[in-house]
Symmetry: C2
Subunit: 570 residues, 2 copies
């Protein structure tokens, strides 16, 4: 009988254990965890706090509503789990680990044939005064979830500060605002939300949506101190820009792979701080595997090592590890950084690299921004979707895609389809002709993914000369540049009234006859509802010798979401 | 100046024209169409009839609500359109076409440098008595749409018969039932709905859903005659099984590519009846291109030529043709048959081949059926999704995917992601580890696409021994085979009460201790809510020497949708 010991019983660990027992029930499988809450959906915590999930047990139950505890693993999976047990050290030569039981401090040694590190990650807690005050919490385990929700439910919180504008920060801000009506402020050091996931232009749309939902967003702001006392708990957060009174602080500034045990055992740890594994998920010791939040992975677009802590990757890796321990042959190649988050009424997704990440990785990124209906434009439940597609100028390889919209599944559909092709090195033409399913209730005949690729190709070929909405907004405010608005008079007139002779309306269908009304000797910006008509106008003007024009990417649709105050009052 | 003539002004034709003018406005572009209604979304007709789209003009307007008529094409695109003009013949040597104006019968010759055939397809009208009676209509042009809707709106219809169980038949049956409350009967010759898109098991779920929505479905039934008079219009449809009184008949038995002109001009037409084109969308004459419903395409899984009449493909092909005429370099490689249809509250999608199509194409198909939540199982808006994944036994190449569920965008997301990988020859392992975006509001940590691939791998490896639900239902009814139900007693008891000692409940968590209650000397069927627990039970029983078991694919979730009458009364 062979014995595998698995350290960590949240996501990857239990998956390894179950897979091994399914493939070969004669294996002896032992899982060890520090906690007594095991095998839970940590990504569900914001939905527990926000009330979508009523019961903490919902996050640690199977889809058949059975609690995944030690008894469950024993009876159903044939897997032994030691909880509240810490692994102190690994003796690789002796193939032994030393464990300490947290309840009584007793230590013992356990042998293994194969060892699996599924030690997860730990939230980063910045070394600030006050981080240990009552009412200051990270979001990682079900214990945190319960503490946070109980405190709010007890009526002890009227305002909260969320530190960190990543996915968990956004989800928690929504939970606090939406269910509990707390006055919630989100503080982020960077100059945008979701800095590692989105470009600034797309992040701005998310920010505006959150602000509409009454979350106060403070960017470029650094927390300097958390104020309060052991008795009263937290009372305020101090930043380099002011004081934010609050009774609850959520720390969501990121996580770090738990690699200390691996380091101590002399295993290779990489640049991203995670345990280094090969495609079989083996560490530098062939008898030790690692998976889940504690490893780093090759990014399949940049080639760089990245830390990508997601329950989905952990589960898939767990199965690969289980198979490889029993019979070998499975590979996990890496990640393209696929990501989705619900932010109030928006689904926000991306895969690949942002423009900044792509440039940092040595690519020459060029991008298009497209706004288009997520169904046939005549279908009643249609909503606008906002997409950014990024490719390398020289090779035309697709480097990234970012999208958001009111119908999150529809957003997911586009990003997942493009992401599927990223590891294979798909180029723009592959996305121009990507065969996505079509019927009016679900897509346009020319789907937004196809349009985005077409638009990007037009930009690369010099057919279309674009300007991003954020650049338009700042340049329109700074200098006297004029806009030609090719929408109908009905749509355009409020803008003409607001911006005077800097906003010229010539509907697209009249442009050919009214070309002499276009100022031909100065730079011009072109706009329509979402971009395609002003692109055609750009071509028409160019054919008449008016070449110094830029087409505003995503048109008024993008302007409205980027800077609601720019819009005329209705 | 170079001149391109395009025959057909619905989908591919206008796209070619617009693309050429965008790339090079010096081209002279002429589009010719028999009809006076041009550039419309024919796929939207069921939604016009069903009231989702109020106005016929919605189907021929841009997303900016401008009607796409001749004036629009002239002013906005710089494209000339001749409507109500028929092309009589093509003189390839002289690079001339002969046209006839339908209004006055006048003929003239028009020269071209490049010619594009975008002649579309025509609904098949079987040679039946009565097919020309008033009240009998195909669904192809806006004229048909208007005739049908006007007749219903005038109160002249109380019951209708739809002939044909393909996508258009289903969409029309929904439109007639849902908005108008007509007593609607759908007649299909095959033994299932959507015979070219789905396996019989998945089609059965669609059928049951339609029957719940009060559409009467008659399979394996052949229409023999349509009854009525020129004055009263249609009064009934006669079939080989009876008479169906009705005042409206929708013929939706398929379409044929309009290739007559191509044939007459000596261009190559293929096995599927469509014009044959190369990857540049050129016909056998390098100065003549063809695209849209009139061509056939290589199926990128089977390698066979297929006819795939879809507005989405037509549009993408149109752009490729336009680019190739002006500067070359674009390719359209073929189709994987991606398909989606809304059927009342279900989204139904597929890509690739069905099991039958795969076998006919020389593959050795093996499949898995998986039922799983489309979000985290604890997320409140979760709905079950039903997926079938098909691969070749030897190469493990993915051959097809079929899925349906209440959240159609979520169904689309899965099918599009898998479909994207089909042309590249993805295998099961690629789908097991397919990186789809994950967050609880949008997916499970182990997404249904990953689960389906894992399940298929388990079946191929002999780990899981499956039985399809349709086989289970027929074999359970025929012989005395017993079912072991490993769900909880609460869920199982009604089944035990209904089926007596043939339905044995042993909850999964008790199975190891109660193994001696399992009849070990006879074949057994294993069931749970959706499949995974009964799979684990199968492994447990096998490890105890009980090997003659089959796991019911998709479990009770699949049974309930396949045969509602099998379920105990609540």
């Amino acid at each position: 009988m062979k014995k595998v010991v698995i350290i960590g019983a949240v996501a990857a660990g239990p998956k390894v254990a179950a897979r091994i027992k399914r493939l070969d029930p004669t294996w002896d499988v032992l899982v060890i965890d520090r906690d007594d809450m095991i095998s839970y959906g940590g990504c569900g915590i914001p939905y527990y706090v926000g009330g979508d999930v009523n019961d903490l047990e919902g996050l640690r139950s199977t889809s058949a509503h059975v609690i995944r505890d030690q008894t469950y693993f024993k009876n159903v999976k044939g897997v032994e789990i030691l909880t509240r047990t810490e692994v102190v050290s690994i003796d690789r030569k002796g193939k032994t680990i030393r464990v300490r039981r947290l309840n009584d401090g007793q230590e013992e040694e356990i042998t293994y044939d194969k060892l699996v590190l599924a030690t997860g990650s730990t939230p980063v807690v910045p070394p600030l005064e006050g981080v240990t005050l009552p009412g200051v919490s990270v979001v990682a385990t079900l214990h945190h979830a319960k503490t946070i929700k109980d405190k709010i439910a007890a009526g002890q919180v009227s305002s909260a500060v969320v530190i960190g504008g990543g996915a968990i920060g956004l989800e928690m801000a929504e939970a606090l605002t939406d269910l509990w009506g707390l006055e919630t402020t989100l503080v982020e050091m960077a100059d945008q939300l979701l800095p590692s996931a989105l470009g600034a232009d797309m992040a701005l749309l998310v920010q505006n949506h959150m602000e509409e939902k009454d979350v106060r967003i403070r960017l470029r702001e650094r927390v300097t101190r958390i104020v309060g006392s052991a008795e009263s708990g937290v009372t305020a957060v101090e930043t380099d820009k002011g004081t934010l009174p609050c009774e609850l602080v959520i720390m969501a500034v990121g996580v770090r792979p738990n690699a200390a045990l691996a380091v101590q055992a002399g295993l290779t740890v990489g640049r991203a701080g995670g345990i280094v594994v090969d495609q079989q998920m083996r560490t530098s010791d062939p008898d030790i595997y690692a998976g889940g939040d504690c490893v780093e992975l090759p990014h399949l677009v940049s080639g760089q090592q990245v830390h990508m802590p997601l329950g989905s990757l952990a589960n898939r890796q767990g199965r690969v590890i289980g198979t490889n321990i029993v019979r070998g042959g499975e590979r996990f190649k890496g990640t393209v950084g696929s990501f989705v988050v619900k932010v109030f009424d928006l689904g926000v997704a991306r895969a690949g690299l942002t423009v900044a990440q792509a440039a940092a990785a040595g690519f020459d990124p060029v991008h298009a921004v497209v706004v288009q209906a997520d169904r046939a434009h005549f279908y009643p439940s249609m909503e606008l979707m906002y997409m950014k597609l990024i490719a390398d100028r020289k090779t035309r390889r697709i480097l990234g895609v970012e999208a958001l919209g009111a119908q999150g599944d529809a957003v997911k559909a586009r990003v997942d389809a493009v992401a599927a092709l990223m590891p294979g090195g798909a180029d723009i033409a592959d996305i121009s002709n990507l065969e996505v399913t079509y019927a009016p209730p679900f897509a346009s005949a020319m789907d937004i993914v196809n349009s985005a690729a077409n638009s990007l190709e037009n930009i690369l070929e010099g057919q279309q000369t674009p300007i991003d909405v954020m650049d338009f907004l700042s340049c329109f405010k700074k200098n006297g540049i004029k806009v030609i608005d090719v929408r109908s008079a009905v749509q355009s007139t409020p803008f003409v009234e607001k911006y005077g002779d800097r906003w010229i309306n010539i509907p697209q269908e009249d442009l050919a006859c009214r070309i002499d009304e276009v100022p031909g000797d100065e730079p011009l910006l072109l706009i329509c509802g979402s971009g395609p008509r002003s692109y055609e106008a750009q071509l028409l003007l160019r054919s008449h010798g008016i070449a110094d024009t830029r087409n505003i990417q995503g048109g008024v649709g993008m302007v409205k979401r980027s800077d609601p105050a720019f819009m005329p009052q209705p």
